[in-house]
Subunit: 374 residues, 2 copies
């Protein structure tokens, strides 16, 4: 009963309305809706409108306060530290990265550390604010506990994504946006729905041993005891480099929580309402040479990587960010594909808040508005 | 026929002498010997004195010129770009990171991009120059071809290490120094010597298919055709996140070669004598708050990670840099352990250059000198 695609603008305005009903100001709702809809448009559904119910529960459970001020607690020409006071994550991120980009324009580089924030959507959107100006961009954040350190069995670290963007003269910048865990939890849920075991190397059980038993792991993961959890990139132990992935995840926590004097993953969403910590950065490429020459050189490397010989049965070598950019172009042309669960959630919100349901081709009112604006 | 350990100072002076015989100036030899002996002292033998024969072949084959000038081709208050003119890698790295640290002292952050350099030893040593001052430190470099992109079968990228250091108030800083490939090639050589298969997830064959056949892979790896190669962290395909490790490796090349307008991995050590590209960075932590408070906060996170529950059969959770620091303390107290092959190589150099052989307890002349200096 998939009901097809929905136009970007229709999903954006509908999501904005729901967020306003949840208590967001118009501006907060617009920024957050943009963050969620961009993720769906790029095919990164894990960070798309499906998150609305998580955002709702964060307000209900006292982790997000829509009235919180965004406070700069320290600032230098190169840097700022922001206390989000448990406000709206997307707005805190946009505020901080906007200033990081301004600093970079003026002085050559900029860094922002954030404490007491909330989920900021896909990290790539924030690094892209830098690459759009021709700067190197970076974004990091810690998250709710989910992952274990090498030789551990306790969930104390998050998926802790890293994002690095480098501008090129090609169609899209290089944009690596990755959880430092092997997979996001959404992939475990897919195995659960399909009643399938997981590949070895994703998670460990309560003893810290590699497990492929999806049902058992989900029981552990949903329990209040933090035993068993996701493995970092490289899997269990050291043979396939699991200690490296764990190092990257830990680095993210030290950078985000350490520099902002904020909460580290283990203490996020705890009884004291621990918020999320984040870190943003940008560096001008013309510190190092002529911007155009550098962007051409970057693109020539990427071109040669794309052209290199393919493995048997493979037709393409991807550059990071390409799949997402192509999904976005497709979504803008033909609409954004939503899964059944997302459609149902959106319909439920329509009922709950007395809104006109979103239709696959957009709602008549919105279509008229869009036509008037064209 | 392992002949035991050797004192740090004895190995340092012996290595310095050999490098002078290879054509290094006294200063170049001292810096390079320090880089190599530090690696052995820390248990990172892959980057220790065993590299002397590689350094010798680089001179012989026209990849390293000991008379090359170190040239700053661009400089701003925040940054510099260095052309190493195919000189001595350790000296170029020390020169660049010294200036990066100076810039960071003055302005708050510093970045250095290097082209046409050579092997700089363990990346961690350079990031540590920043953490020793209380700064965040970073070092990256590309390398000779060795690794393949996800869905590829051609060696076009290097082991491309990343290193991030964060100062803490504990005994050692957090120091993550990792090849972005699953393993360094030295581990394949161990399997070869033991006549054993490799674990799946290390390498692929000439078709780009996962292989555990050590003998066949070594034949491919030693061939002049760049087919088959190491996998990045996460292994083949996307199921265990191989595309993430590949992204990190590619990021390193774009940062090092891209920003310096230097050679990317595929073109290092080619007919045109392509050199190695590197990137260094440092950021003051007091941009973000009181340095002591931040270092204490970092250490408190690390402490809680160390204290968290262990997997069955495991007694310790390590922080990155701890193992190496403990090895170093052990080496300083009891001498540096060298393997048979390293002893043989050092003895061969004694014969070749008419030097007094290094003895496990150091050489008599050096012991007298050390005593006189005490």
């Amino acid at each position: 009963m998939r009901r097809g695609k929905v136009p970007y603008s229709a999903l954006l305005s509908y999501t904005t309305e729901i967020l306003e009903k949840l208590g967001y100001s118009r501006e907060q709702a617009e920024v957050t809706a943009w963050v969620l809809v961009e993720a769906d448009a790029r095919g990164v559904c894990s960070h798309g409108v499906a998150r609305l119910s998580f955002y709702e529960s964060n307000i209900r459970d006292g982790y997000t306060f829509t009235g919180a001020p965004i406070e700069i607690v320290r600032e230098t020409p190169l840097s700022l530290v922001v206390d989000g006071h448990h406000g709206v994550g997307a707005c805190v991120a946009q505020f901080t990265m906007t200033r990081v980009v301004e600093k970079t324009k003026h002085i050559g580089a900029g860094f922002g550390a954030v404490r007491n924030s909330n989920h900021f959507g896909m990290a790539g959107l924030w690094a892209e604010m830098a690459t759009a100006e021709g700067f190197i961009g970076m974004a990091f954040c810690n998250t709710r506990i989910c992952a274990i350190p090498t030789f551990g069995r306790e969930r104390i670290l998050g998926t802790n994504p890293v994002c690095f963007g480098i501008p090129s003269s090609g169609k899209t910048p290089f944009l690596l946006d990755m959880a430092t865990t092997t997979v996001a939890h959404g992939k475990v849920e897919v195995c659960e729905r399909r009643n399938k075991p997981m590949p070895a190397g994703w998670v460990v059980d309560e003893s810290g041993d590699d497990t492929t038993d999806t049902r058992h792991f989900q029981k552990l993961f949903r329990s209040s005891r933090p035993e068993g959890g996701h493995l970092f990139l490289g899997g269990a132990g050291e043979e396939l480099g699991g200690h490296k992935g764990y190092g990257l995840g830990l680095f993210v926590d030290l950078l985000c929580a350490g520099m902002s004097m904020g909460t580290w993953s283990r203490d996020t969403f705890n009884a004291e309402g621990g918020g999320i910590s984040q870190f943003f950065g940008a560096i001008r490429t013309d510190l190092f040479g002529n911007r155009t020459d550098i962007e051409n050189h970057v693109e020539s490397i990427l071109h040669q990587v794309r052209q290199s010989a393919k493995a048997s049965g493979r037709r393409r070598i991807y550059i990071h960010g390409e799949k997402e950019a192509e999904s976005r172009a497709q979504s803008m042309a033909k609409g954004i594909m939503l899964d059944d669960a997302s459609w149902k959630m959106l319909d439920d919100y329509a009922v709950k808040f007395g809104l006109e349901k979103l239709a696959p081709e957009g709602r008549p009112g919105v279509r008229r508005l869009a036509a008037a604006l064209d």
